[in-house]
Subunit: 441 residues, 2 copies
């Protein structure tokens, strides 16, 4: 099934002329038609417009024009990421019918790489906790996670090989794990965020969903870059993530198993699965305790998220706070009371905490290994689950990836989260690939 070929392989076949973009998009649309009634991953999807993009790309190939690395590959875009040719509603009724004039930087980059912008995927309300309509593709009675619910579900269901999301607490890693997709939140500042609904400059990351590590690496390679409008990006040489991810590690990687102070809250089958993983990794995995002050990091993240979201969503609050969910109103109300000194104190803890963790990587370990969530996707659609196992790495801006390597007792996917040294995304991808080779199916 072409939609499950993956991005690397699809792009190769299109380049080789054994597949057309139109055929690939057609297959994706067919699978969407079959599964969407159950999964509800898409907020906006215009089949004719998607096919027109594909045909235009096929025409370019026939004309002998140069092809981008994602030529003809369809991508789903979380509906907080602006698209100049499709509505972007940010998951709130206040923005119903909102049509941006311009593409977000990442959408421009995707188009430049030859991708088909297939459609917009469901987000929770303003990428916070109030769920959208999406269901878990592995069991529609379970949440897909959030806030990038539609992107995770669409990739998990094989509707599309690639999708973009965003993570401010645990909005990429958690839904990817719940939906059985590969999810990746690169180092803070690696991917530009202009044209995306801002929740928190300090915490917001663009995240990626795919069906393999190679596909994540290829996608990241296209999305890295400097953007004058995102003050946390920097001009620097392009990194060939695709090639670097496929390199063999020079030594067998060592994993620091970090349970965090929240491990006791994980499900029994999760605990068991990680114990088995520890057995099978043997000497390559060692349990490491976080230094005591790291325990406060969850509070720092909450303070920053509340204060910055209250400021950034103030226009919505003013335009119609009665149209916001109780969850989001509560967040903004708490955020409006945060004092500037407390907010700044929390932000100021980030750099020294990253430095402390750097030592782990310099001493001995290639990646931190932990769970992406408390367990498999919880039953019910009223909550998107708890981001507690993502919050620390989001706060610190460290790269994090989840791999769908295990299953829970209920048959739903269980992910393994690896966290890399800040700024060392390629090494994390390479290490993840080694792990998959070692314990993957």
């Amino acid at each position: 099934m072409p939609a499950e070929l993956g991005a690397v392989e699809s792009a190769r076949r299109i380049r080789d002329g054994v597949l057309t973009a139109e055929e690939l998009v057609g297959e994706c649309l067919e699978r969407i038609r079959a599964l969407e009634p159950k999964v509800q991953a898409w907020q906006f999807l215009d089949e004719a417009h998607a096919l027109a993009q594909a045909r235009a790309l096929d025409e370019r190939k026939r004309n002998g024009e140069p092809l981008g690395p994602l030529h003809g590959v369809p991508v789903g875009i979380k509906d907080i990421i602006d698209t100049g040719d499709m509505p972007t509603e940010n998951g709130t009724a206040i923005h119903a019918g909102r049509t941006p004039r311009d593409d977000a930087a990442v959408v421009r980059m995707l188009r430049a790489a030859g991708a088909v912008i297939l459609g917009k995927t469901v987000t929770t309300e303003c990428a916070y906790f109030n769920p959208g309509k999406t269901r878990n593709p592995h069991n529609p009675q379970h949440t897909p996670g959030g806030s990038s619910s539609g992107s995770a579900a669409a990739v998990g269901a094989g509707m599309v090989p690639l999708a973009l999301g965003s993570q401010t607490a645990g909005s990429v890693i958690r839904p990817a794990a719940f939906c059985g997709a590969y999810g990746f939140k690169p180092t803070h500042g690696l991917i530009p965020r202009s044209g995306i609904l801002t929740l928190s400059r300090t915490l917001d990351h663009v995240g990626l969903f795919a069906r393999s590590i190679d596909d994540l690496a290829l996608l990241l390679e296209q999305l890295q870059g400097y953007d004058e409008l995102d003050p946390d990006t920097r001009p620097r040489a392009r990194i060939p993530f695709g090639d670097l991810a496929r390199e063999e590690p020079p030594l067998e990687p060592m994993f620091a198993f970090v349970k965090t102070p929240h491990w006791e809250r994980t499900d029994a089958d999760t605990k068991e699965a990680f114990a088995e993983l520890q057995d099978s990794l043997g000497k390559n995995m060692e349990e490491v305790e976080l230094f005591p002050s790291a325990t406060d990091a969850w509070d720092w993240q909450r303070t920053i998220m509340e204060a910055e979201m209250a400021a950034n969503l103030e226009p919505l609050w003013v335009a119609g706070k009665e149209k916001l969910s109780e969850k989001l109103r509560g967040l903004i109300e708490r955020g409006r009371e945060v004092r500037a000194v407390d907010h700044q104190r929390a932000v100021r803890r980030i750099a020294p905490t990253v430095e402390s963790l750097d030592e782990l990587f310099m001493q001995r370990y290639d990646a931190i290994l932990t769970t992406p969530a408390l367990g498999t996707a919880p039953k019910g659609l009223g909550s998107t689950g708890d981001p507690v196992f993502c919050v620390l790495w989001t706060l610190l801006g460290m790269p994090a990836i989840t791999l769908p390597l295990m299953r829970g007792d209920n048959g739903l996917p269980l992910g393994v989260q690896l966290v890399g040294r800040k700024g060392y995304d390629a090494r994390l991808l390479r290490t993840a690939r080694w792990l998959e080779g070692k314990v993957g199916s």
Copy 2:
């Protein structure tokens, strides 16, 4: 008198072998010995250490080693800027005897350019409003302004050709104007701030004092640069400010005379002096009103300064708030009550306001022209004067320069402040040089 030669000319003579660094430093020290009892510009000055630096530089010249652009030129350093070989006390008893391990980035850059770090100049308490011991070199009954009081007075008195200060509200431009020096606060982020007491990341700037525009340009050229530890600096090509400042403008510059909503508070002789300036500039100067919302900018600056200083000075507050002045305690108390949403809202106003002002420069004007202060240095040493005419340009991070081109009725210096487009520092220096040629003595 060598101390009044200026940096460009002194460096040339040293290069040409008609002056030695030791002679130049000796002359400066002699003038300091004569004037310091009256002016009190220096917080720390070790004559032997200064002369030893000079002799080492002369030795390097004799050995035929390459010479930096400031080879042998003495520079005074505001005592909130770390020096690894001299105490840095930040103007507070809590830091009495504090001896940093490392030089601030700007001090490293000065040493690399061959400068002699002559000594540390008096700062107000933590670069806020509580005065130090310094007096105005033109009349010791008058304030030198602040917070860079010692740097301004030392340069104004001809004790040293160059000095560094800092500006968070009006701490460079105002004292330079009061002391009859040339003062320059470049674009925010052009000069790195690591190793300098942080009051406010958003508002803090390094500023320069000299006795000519050419000297300011030469000094700025050495201090520009990227610094990993100052997140507001950017890697970019070095700008040859010295050469650019000396270029002739392609057209006669046009000045936008901006009185701001605070003009009525200026002294009568200041109003008169600017009316005369308007006469002599004729068609090259037009009065321009700020757009109405700019009136709020003074509140935004206050909110940001209070909130960020309260956060950054928290360690002092904890270590011994009873040792802080009432002024500084009051600021911190107000700052601790600022809400994070109000702080962020104020910060968020900066970029669009800069954009609105950009239009002035794109349409018609080379520089904004205004007063640096309400008038000449006020009588008395209990206050450093009002920064109201600097606050807007500091908030917006636009480059500002003050030129000592006029005198008040009391014979004290009156400055002319020019403000340039953000990021166009070389053009501002060139325009200032044209103005000085046109109306200077």
